[in-house]
Symmetry: C2
Subunit: 774 residues, 2 copies
């Protein structure tokens, strides 16, 4: 691991050598997805890696196994059923036999090798020149994409050129359905995630050039189908259907110097989308359509989607190509990971691995969604739709937690039900409710999408707010301020605390936004308002109580230090003495220390109060932010991948430019350089998105929390310039920050008024520019 694992290239990630020890991590680097299906960057020829070396992974977003969970001690409200993103049959594998020798990089001679993630194209290409043990030299090109055009399809193309021989090449394409998740293999104490095979084969066949499979998940009862359609210049020599595997073998007579093309379309679907009895036909159909287009055409369509994405979301940096590469790598991965059907969310690890069981967390709302809201608002809306889609589950959950009204979103989930088996770091993180509300409100603020307010957002804002109005109380011993006890904030090193600053702040804003939403809805669509009030049995008195809370929310405050402690008990905890922690244990506290030991230390794993202050920076003076930042700098260990990007943004705001740049740099290449040493398990989607935030909210100082768009751009001294686009209420603004100036260009005919460095700017027409000194 370590810095610059891959050569520095603006638009490409290149693996230059085939090294077994880097395989596991590279499988994540070269993972591809379209938000519906995802596949890890394993090799077409298929290697039998152990659980420590690799993981063949193919997933459908939101498709899971669900099992009875055993607890050391079960308590009321603990989830009784797990949800685990299920690893699905693999169809990528193609065995290639060159005149009797199996194409296998562990034997023969590798004359030339590279694998590239082409981020502009959305494609992974591998080029290998290989000499077989028998001296047969072949040039092979493997191309792969997961289609952004056709959600069920991934496409593969293999080109083979015999260099020094004419003879036979055999290609066998497989469908391997005897698949198991890795989860739990390494920790036998956790009754979590599926163990062993969980997909029962219901149908498995090879017909013509198809391999087809239908399977049923043993406990969740969900069904899926998958298949492949291959096109090969040779003839089918053999077709085999075993209990769990099927294969088709093609034989080609090849001539020296000629290039032979093999194409494979792979499709997946599941019964969330298609009735079980129609799945196989559907897959065949989709495969045929894709094959009719052909791989090259599929790649062209892919490029079109990528161009569109980059035109909206790219950030160009002049002056640091390594960071430029990191930014694009991060944007590429979050773009491809997001569910876009309104029924699925985005896993903390995207669809790049089994990490966190494929669960959706607050990461989506607080880290990823701001990026999409400002760049790809349709994608943002689909992710919000997923939360609306699971509002009823959140209502049920609120009841389980003893709230008579409202909705409480789960800490981690796939299907909308709480899947956290450890409530101190799970269900106790009530802030997820306010985080989701925050994302809805941000979406409304930035897009101005009133229809969405009426159709979905108001209901979510009100139902989440209601839980906040029930969870706490006005405490006489705290001057009748509204206190919220026994929650866990974002910081996972301080659990079950009273008056977590972040939580109280976000809760207040959740309530404030709910009130705003109701008022606005009443104004713009009285009928819809009345219908909502009736549907959720909303009472006018609730608003009065909300007002009292908004006015009287309690925040822990230390008079002497003039800072907001993270929670009521934070300053009483034991001063953190890292010298007592052996170095190898320092980054793995929960792996090496009892939770109670961790809870008792005056330190934080990650940004907590600081995140709240950043999101609602309008309530704080820069002096206040500085004091708090200085304090939290001394107590934050940044053991979470969600931490440094946030500190970096606030550092920018308060003028700690060097620190801001340092934090930004760490965030931008965190995964590419595998700084947390666990990239093999999947991407850190939140931090990846945090990189974009680091530039846009950090260096460019973009805010909307005052109710309008504010920009306060700076140029890091290390850079020559940077440039990006923002969408704001229909307008599309290009922002280029250079050495002494910022140049604003409106890209469409939609008037935009905003504030830059305190100056009010209005741009009206496509091409309107404004240049300002910085």
């Amino acid at each position: 691991m370590g810095a610059n694992t891959y050569p520095i290239e603006e638009w490409v990630i290149t693996e230059e050598k085939f090294l077994k020890e880097w395989n596991y991590r590279n499988e994540t680097t070269f993972a591809l997805s379209n938000g519906y299906i995802g596949t890890r960057g394993t090799f077409d020829e298929g290697y039998p890696f152990t659980v420590d070396e690799g993981l063949e992974g193919n997933f459908i977003n939101g498709f899971y196994e669900s099992e009875h969970i055993m607890y050391g001690e079960w308590n009321f409200g603990f989830p009784e059923k797990s949800q685990s993103l299920l690893n699905l049959p693999n169809l990528k594998k193609t065995k290639i036999v060159i005149d009797g020798d199996v194409f296998d990089l562990n034997q023969g001679e590798i004359i030339n090798y590279n694998r590239k993630l082409l981020m502009k194209d959305g494609v992974v290409v591998r080029n290998v020149t290989w000499k077989s043990p028998n001296g047969k030299k072949v040039v092979a090109e493997f191309r792969r994409l997961v289609s952004l055009e056709k959600k069920n399809i991934m496409a593969i193309q293999i080109k083979l050129t015999p260099v020094n021989f004419s003879g036979k090449i055999e290609l066998t394409t497989y469908l391997e359905a005897g698949v198991e998740n890795h989860t739990r293999k390494t920790n036998p104490l956790i009754d979590y995630g599926p163990y062993g095979k969980h997909l029962a084969v219901k149908e498995l066949k090879a017909e013509d050039n198809y391999l087809l499979h239908k399977g049923k998940v043993i406990h969740s009862g969900l069904s899926m189908a998958c298949g492949s359609l291959t096109k090969c210049e040779g003839v089918i020599k053999n077709s085999e259907v075993l209990e769990e595997d099927a294969s088709l073998t093609y034989e080609l007579s090849v001539e020296e110097g000629k290039t032979y093309v093999f194409e494979k379309m792979i499709g997946y679907t599941c019964d969330f989308d298609i009735a079980e009895d129609k799945m196989i036909d559907f897959i065949k159909d989709e495969l045929k359509k894709a094959m009719d287009l052909g791989y090259d055409e599929m790649e062209k369509l892919q490029k079109k989607h990528m161009d569109e994405f980059w035109s909206k979301a790219d950030i160009k940096v002049e002056g640091d190509e390594a960071l430029q590469q990191g930014i694009r790598f991060n944007l590429f991965h979050i773009m491809q990971s997001a569910g876009r059907d309104g029924r699925t969310g985005m896993g903390a690890k995207g669809l790049s691995g089994e990490g966190y069981e494929g669960h959706y967390f607050w990461d989506t709302e607080m880290y990823v969604l701001p990026v999409f809201i400002y760049t790809e608002s349709e994608l943002a809306k689909q992710l919000l739709n997923y939360r609306y889609d699971t509002l009823n589950q959140a209502r049920d959950r609120a009841k389980i937690l003893g709230h008579e009204k409202g909705a409480l979103y789960p800490w981690r989930t796939i299907n909308g039900e709480e899947a956290s088996t450890y409530f101190p770091l799970g269900t106790a993180q009530y802030h997820v409710n306010a985080d989701i509300a925050y994302a809805f409100k941000l979406y409304l603020d930035i897009t101005g999408d009133d229809e969405f307010l009426v159709d979905e957002a108001a209901e979510v804002l009100v139902e989440t707010a209601r839980v906040w109005a029930d969870v706490g109380c006005f405490a006489e011993c705290k001057d009748n301020k509204y206190c919220i006890c026994a929650v866990t904030g974002p910081d996972e090193y301080n659990a079950i605390v009273d008056n977590n600053f972040y939580t109280n702040l976000m809760a207040r804003e959740n309530i404030r936004d709910a009130k705003w939403a109701l008022e606005k809805m009443k104004e713009i669509d009285k009928d819809a308002y009345d219908a909502l009030v009736k549907k959720i049995d909303f009472k006018e008195e609730e608003i009065d109580y909300w007002d009292r809370i908004i006015e009287n929310m309690y925040f822990p405050y230390d008079e002497k230090m003039q800072i907001y402690p993270q929670d009521d008990g934070f300053l009483m905890r034991k001063p953190w003495d890292e010298s007592k922690i052996p170095e190898e244990k320092r980054h793995l506290l929960y792996e090496n220390y009892h939770p109670l030991f961790v809870y008792r230390q005056k330190m934080a794993k990650q940004a907590d109060a600081i995140l709240g202050m950043l999101l609602h920076s309008n309530y704080f003076t820069n002096e206040e932010l500085k004091r708090n930042y200085d304090f939290y700098q001394t107590v934050t260990l940044h053991h979470s991948s969600l931490s440094t990007c946030i500190f970096g943004i606030l550092a920018s705001q308060i003028g700690y430019d060097d620190e801001a740049y340092k934090y930004f740099s760490q965030s931008a290449r965190m995964d590419l350089d595998d700084i947390h040493n666990n990239f093999y398990a999947g991407i850190h989607a939140a931090n990846m998105a945090g990189t974009w935030q680091g530039i846009v909210f950090g260096f460019a100082g973009v805010r909307s929390n005052a109710g309008y768009l504010q920009i306060n751009p700076k140029l890091p001294s290390q850079w020559k310039s940077y440039e990006f686009c923002l969408q704001y209420k229909g307008s599309n603004l290009n922002i280029k920050v250079a050495e002494r100036e910022v140049e604003y260009t409106l890209l469409n005919d939609c008037e935009l008024s905003y504030e830059s460095l305190g100056e009010k700017i209005v741009l009206s027409k496509e091409g309107d520019k404004y240049v300002q000194e910085i």
Copy 2:
């Protein structure tokens, strides 16, 4: 259930009817034990009760199964192996066939029936006159005891008198080794307690009049043996050894009007006491010795032990026979439940059932030990020996919790290792450390046993104190007072709190006592002191730090209410509104509400701060106690069986005599009247002991916390008098409190000086009396 389930009798508990629906509870009522073996009050003839109707239970104290525990999410320091008191083979069963009809109370006619626990004798006797379906009438007497004289033995005698026939009676005695615990059968989500059969039969035989068995516990690997020796006037007709069962059948030709006696000695042992290969011989030997004595002689020996016990521990009450009965029932059960070999403790449910997996809790130290310390100090010492015996496990546990020095006792355990699978209500209850220290100190104070101080107590006091000196810190934000964060106090409805009043108080006293112990030890045995200091690497600076803590312990205090809140956050929690809780759920909060819901309410399950104030009442004025009592009265739900007895005692002290009596009454008959509706699962040992405390510490106002013996007797207006004995530093004092006076009688030649109602009293010789007005 309900009041007066059994007729009111001073020394006897009588079951007047055979009712299947009362069976499960009666099995606990008539359970017998000697602290080593225990057996539930099941019937000799053996009924096939379902898991909801009954539980055949036979136990050896400290003999357990241990299995790998699965967690929803395992964290560092969570116990990896369970400890579950194992249900052992049953040998009580004797099938009786009366001229072809099986003696079975479900058929034929019950002409006369009663079963009595004779508390004076330590024996259970059942008398039945029964007419078989064929009209054969028989008078049967079943007697049973678990020997206080011979720890391995329980003895049974059955007398049969054919009333209206001469003919054949067949008696079959069984050894049933295919035994299973009930635990977990009713809650499949908890991976806790053994499921299925766990004792593998290693040897099983019938030879002569013996049935013998040796078994090995599948996972813990522990071995045990058991057997029976029967004596019958008839001849052996059959002997059978199956896979898991063995039996011997006797046939008797009986004559009308004659009485036939059948005796059975049953023995248990295990490899904690006897080498595995010697166990069977040992059992045979013990059985033979017991049978040589014969049942009647065993009963005489039993009576001798009981007489001795009652002479020291009985409390005579004139004026309320129901309470008198309750007190004796309670004393009887705690006496028989206590481990007395220094290797075993006392389960929260004694040996009367599988409840709490047979684990030992703080109940022993805080509730039971004060009783024994004042009445049966040798028994008390053996229970303390058990804690000393497991000090190394507590040292290991402290390290796991991140403490560099010291010992942390487990919340629940059999073998000395933590067995709590749910740390918020388990390991977080650090107060257990101070509770154990408290019991050691109380023992030293009351017995004056300096040898024990030197040999064991000082080490325990110092090692427990060291954890207190590490767990907290002097917090600047609290005026540099010593704060202890993230613990759970005794009250299980408020978990993971900061500065639990009880914990901080007990911790301070633990440290104070440790300092005292070291000083005293230095004074009386310098060599031993030096050895200890060396052994535990004790540094002089530790005392300095201790002094700072003793001087500066932080206690939450509410200026306005002038009370000590239970913890820092207590007063901020939501006012408890019981009207929102459906009545059937009110006493089962954790069964019906998520822990977080419970934590957030301003209410307590049980005495917490109040218990601390009681134990250390010397630090508080009566006014303070009153204010706090008044406050905690309003917020305590008494959902724990450990609560009312404590409130009652404090009520006595502050002159709330009616309340004191009410609480006492509830405590005294709690189990006998099955007030918590769960007596079937086993006795509530702590509350049973609390009854004794209610009289001695409550009505009689006995205290030793000022450093000497204080007595402040009152007579409840409902009573004519009460009388009990106390041991104090070798003296044996009888105290009789009557209507206007208290009479003190010294029972031995050991001078005793104490304070009664503020007056200093000295009694010097056996028979010395002092009468004082009250």
